[in-house]
Symmetry: C2
Subunit: 234 residues, 2 copies
DNA sequence: ACTTGACGTGACCGATCGTTTACATTATGA
DNA sequence: TCATAATGTAAACGATCGGTCACGTCAAGT
């Protein structure tokens, strides 16, 4: 039962820190939530702060091995439709995996207090997503699925709206279903705007970007404004 | 000196809550920061929580009168270049105005603890920006400056990357200069992709979206990844 | 059987929390 | 001028904070 307790403490810490923040969490309720007296804390950690630092170490290590290594990169889609489904799959995972959600929340709450949390927050919310999709979009441009453009800029334009919807899910879980639909709507809008069409013109100076079935839309706005509505996923 | 003290307390509260959070702020340092003893607090507020609620009331009211009313809407740009400059101007203001920055930070820190903070956060970070630019883009589409498309979706696609960069400025003020350059780069990318060109074709079924000077890029990626670099604005 | 070390706990520590109270000081206004 | 209300403060309150300590238990190794 040695390491087990340490693990439980770290899990309880992630749970409570992500809900009430570091300063808003006290050791008594933390240990009580896993059935221990608060004095037992110090058999495993020398201070509350060491719990925080250990937790942050693990979050950084997890992020590095999960998103930092090339072998965990998702494959480059073979069609625009595949990009949409892959995106939805990724968003579903990241908004339903309790640990990932708590990690984002805790980084949100501690980003101004702790330098390492700040750096990891920037990776989670901004650079990580953008870099991942820079690789993907570079591949898709080579496959002529996307119009040739700066892949990093296109990745930035693609991932940040989705990141905003992920944050919305964290903030208002009741709107998760609606947010996911908005992710799909946005993704379809994106492939409509950035997707390469099959008609390969002479490609001199003016390229024909025929991807504009404009008129009707993709729905959208109710997803952001209105009331919660039911919370469905699947 | 009656109301003056109350104002000072609220300003100090915004300052400290935005830096250390509600639970991370204690009354002694709050009052000391404006030259009072902590016991003086209760001549003006009946509790710490009432300070928080008053502050939140004011943030909500301020947001309503500043961004909720139509008369404060920015004018619809007359050119794509004007959209870029207006965007830069807005981002500059929102990232340099101390009160606005602190408001965003405090909403970030308290969004999971307080329902009203949560709702205001969603407005600040998501729906407010999107709605504002939905109006703007509707106007720009009527003026044939932007390709006709769902204005709400286009507004969402435009504002969320910018919102992400604003958050980056809050998190890492040292990167503010870089972030602002990235805002401009993204804005120019956006008008390149969504802007309507002057060549008015027959406009039958296939519209010529000639806005694609693709090949060279708009710079980007260093703005997100690298080290801080100098912090310049103007 | 006996030692040893790991693990858990209740009682307690000093510090600090938000808040109250008793008491000044000052401004107001009749 | 003098009652009155508004404003500020030091001291103290009970509660709670993170953390320590003496002690009990129990499993492992010899």
């Amino acid at each position: 039962m040695a390491k087990g307790t340490k693990r439980k403490i770290l899990e309880a810490a992630l749970e409570l820190f992500s809900k009430n923040g570091y300063t808003g969490t006290n050791m008594r309720e933390l240990m009580a939530s896993i059935g221990y007296a608060k004095s037992s804390t110090y058999r495993h950690f020398e201070s509350k702060e060491e719990i925080w630092n250990t937790l942050l170490d693990e979050m950084i290590a997890y992020y590095g091995e999960r998103f930092g290594s090339p072998e965990h990169m998702p494959p480059v889609p073979d069609s625009l439709e595949e990009l949409v489904s892959m995106t939805i799959r990724m968003v579903r995972i990241t908004t339903q995996d309790e640990t990932i959600v708590k990690t984002r929340k805790v980084l949100t709450l501690e980003q101004f207090r702790d330098d390492r949390a700040r750096d990891l927050a920037t990776k989670h919310f901004l650079t990580g997503l953008t870099e991942m999709f820079t690789v993907i979009f570079t591949g898709m441009m080579e496959k002529k699925l996307l119009r040739r453009d700066d892949p990093a800029m296109v990745a930035f334009a693609y991932t940040m709206p989705i990141s905003a919807l992920i944050h919305l899910c964290d903030r208002e879980p009741a709107k998760a279903g609606e947010a996911l639909r908005q992710v799909e709507a946005f993704s379809r809008h994106f492939i409509k705007v950035y997707g390469e069409t099959e008609e390969k013109t002479t490609n001199k100076n003016a390229e024909l970007a025929g991807n504009a079935r404009r008129d009707g839309n993709t729905e959208l706005p109710a997803a952001l404004a209105g009331e919660a509505g039911a919370n469905e996923e699947t």
